[in-house]
Amino acid sequence: MKTMKIMLFIISILITSALSLAVYFIFIVILSMYAKYTNPHPEHGVMPLGALVYAVIPTIPISIFLLLKIYKWLLKKYE
């Protein structure tokens, strides 16, 4: 049973990683659009480099939430 739980947890992590990456990309796009449209001098382009960093912040809690949900769902399904 313990091995089964570890296996399910590892599978949960793998699924969550893929989903988190997608979530991370979505936040990068949202933040970069924010940066683009709040640029006070649009004639002078700037790059949304900070989006790569700040997109991590909302991604972390969402990833933890997803991990727990997926793990619980897998446990329920295979127990």
């Binding site: 796009v29 970069s32 382009g45 700037v46 989006a51």
Partner: protein
């Protein structure tokens, strides 16, 4: 606009530019069909002979052939373009020798011309061969369509000449291509002739092997369309962006990007990480002593000490590329939404006014010239400076 590249072949291969340099493979797939590629090579040969330079070819296999090939209205019955294995670069096309070939299996004989023992063109008959010789000698008119077909070649020539004289004219305009602009600025400053060939090759062929390093710049395909499909007169073109700058900057960025194209959502594809800049400095420009002293969060940096070090480095012959929040340039203490967000090139002229706490220095950005002077408050500088990359370009 979907930012993901549709060019799936790219993901299953290593960096194709690296492959070229290591001579371990020929190339990734070309988005052109073989006929278009052969036409490109004809034009490359003709152009290179005029300009007395060598050429490089990027073929996915060693032999391309085409039947009923149209060359300026004349139909060549059959043309075969054959490259010698591992000899894609620095092909001297100033002279050629006649060659003949016979295929005993199908019983066909061919006549042809060979350049530098590396690149051979075969034809079915002497008339076809003579037509191509006339073409590469520049005797015939040319209906070759450049990759950037909507762009004005004369305008690009003028802009190239202007940038060779003043590299600070390179202007990213409203695009997020500051990283590429920095690299373009350095190329125009240090490799004036290679700069011209780079932009012209990209304009004609949407691929270029840079200078002595033969670093391949080849914009990738994307769902949003190739960068050379744009028309400078339509609404999607960045307003006020010089055509030569569009050709160069978008091609460099779309060549380097692995996933996003530069015109991806919100400018994500325009992001240039410090590692992107250092990679281009090392691989493309063969810079020495490339050192990255940047910090995303700006923590752990003593900005004033760093500024002093940077000025010393600049005086010592280094190029110094600064990572900043663009509000530094408007002497605005408030932060941009997402900082840091801009690369600029330091150009010396540092003076620090300790009484009024102000800093004056020169820099390159946004096509404002090579060494526009800015004066900002020291507090603003300390807040918006995120370190620099230094490199010695030889």
């Amino acid at each position: 606009m979907l930012p993901l590249s549709s060019y799936s072949t790219f993901f299953v291969q290593a960096d194709p530019s690296t492959e070229f340099k290591n001579d371990v493979a020929i190339t990734e797939f070309d988005e052109d069909d073989k006929e278009r590629y052969i036409r490109k090579v004809f034009h490359k040969i003709r152009n290179a002979r005029k300009e007395k330079r060598t050429i490089d070819v990027a073929m996915s296999i060693y032999v391309y052939s085409a039947y009923n090939f149209n060359l300026n209205g004349y139909t060549l019955k059959r043309v075969i373009l054959q490259m010698k294995i591992y000899s894609y670069s620095d092909i001297d096309v100033s002279s050629y020798k006649d060659v003949d070939a016979y295929n005993p299996i199908i019983g066909l004989s061919s006549t042809g011309i060979q350049f530098d023992d590396k690149l051979t063109l075969y034809f079915d008959n002497e008339d076809d061969k003579q037509t191509v010789i006339n073409y590469i000698n520049g005797n015939d008119s040319d209906d070759f369509i450049p990759a950037f077909s909507h762009f004005d070649e004369k305008m690009i020539d003028i802009e190239i000449a202007q940038r060779q004289n003043n590299p600070g004219l390179i202007n990213q305009s409203s695009t997020p291509l500051c990283g590429s602009a920095i690299v373009g600025n350095l190329i125009a400053k240090h490799y004036k002739t290679d700069f011209k060939y780079l932009v012209k090759d990209l304009f004609f062929y949407a691929e270029a092997f840079f200078g002595t390093t033969n670093y391949l710049i080849k914009p990738r395909n994307s769902i949003t369309g190739q960068n050379y499909h744009i028309n400078p007169n339509d609404g999607f073109y960045p307003s006020g962006m010089p055509q030569s700058d569009y050709v160069l900057l978008t091609s460099i960025k779309n060549s380097e990007n692995k996933v996003f194209s530069y015109d991806g959502l919100g400018g994500v594809g325009g992001i240039a990480l410090p590692s992107d800049i250092t990679s281009l400095l090392l691989k493309m420009l063969k810079s020495k002593e490339v050192i990255d002293i940047t910090s995303f969060l700006g923590t752990g940096l003593d900005e004033m000490q760093l500024l002093s070090d940077m000025d010393t480095d600049y005086s010592g012959g280094y190029e110094c590329i600064m990572l900043i929040d663009s509000n530094l340039l408007s002497d605005d203490f408030t932060e941009s939404g997402l900082r840091p967000n801009h690369w600029i090139n330091y150009r010396g002229g540092l003076s620090i006014d300790t009484i009024n706490s102000k800093i004056t220095f020169k820099l390159f950005t946004w096509g404002q010239g090579d060494g526009k002077q800015y004066t900002v408050k020291q507090a603003v500088f300390e807040k918006h400076f995120y370190g620099y990359i230094k490199a010695k370009i030889v």
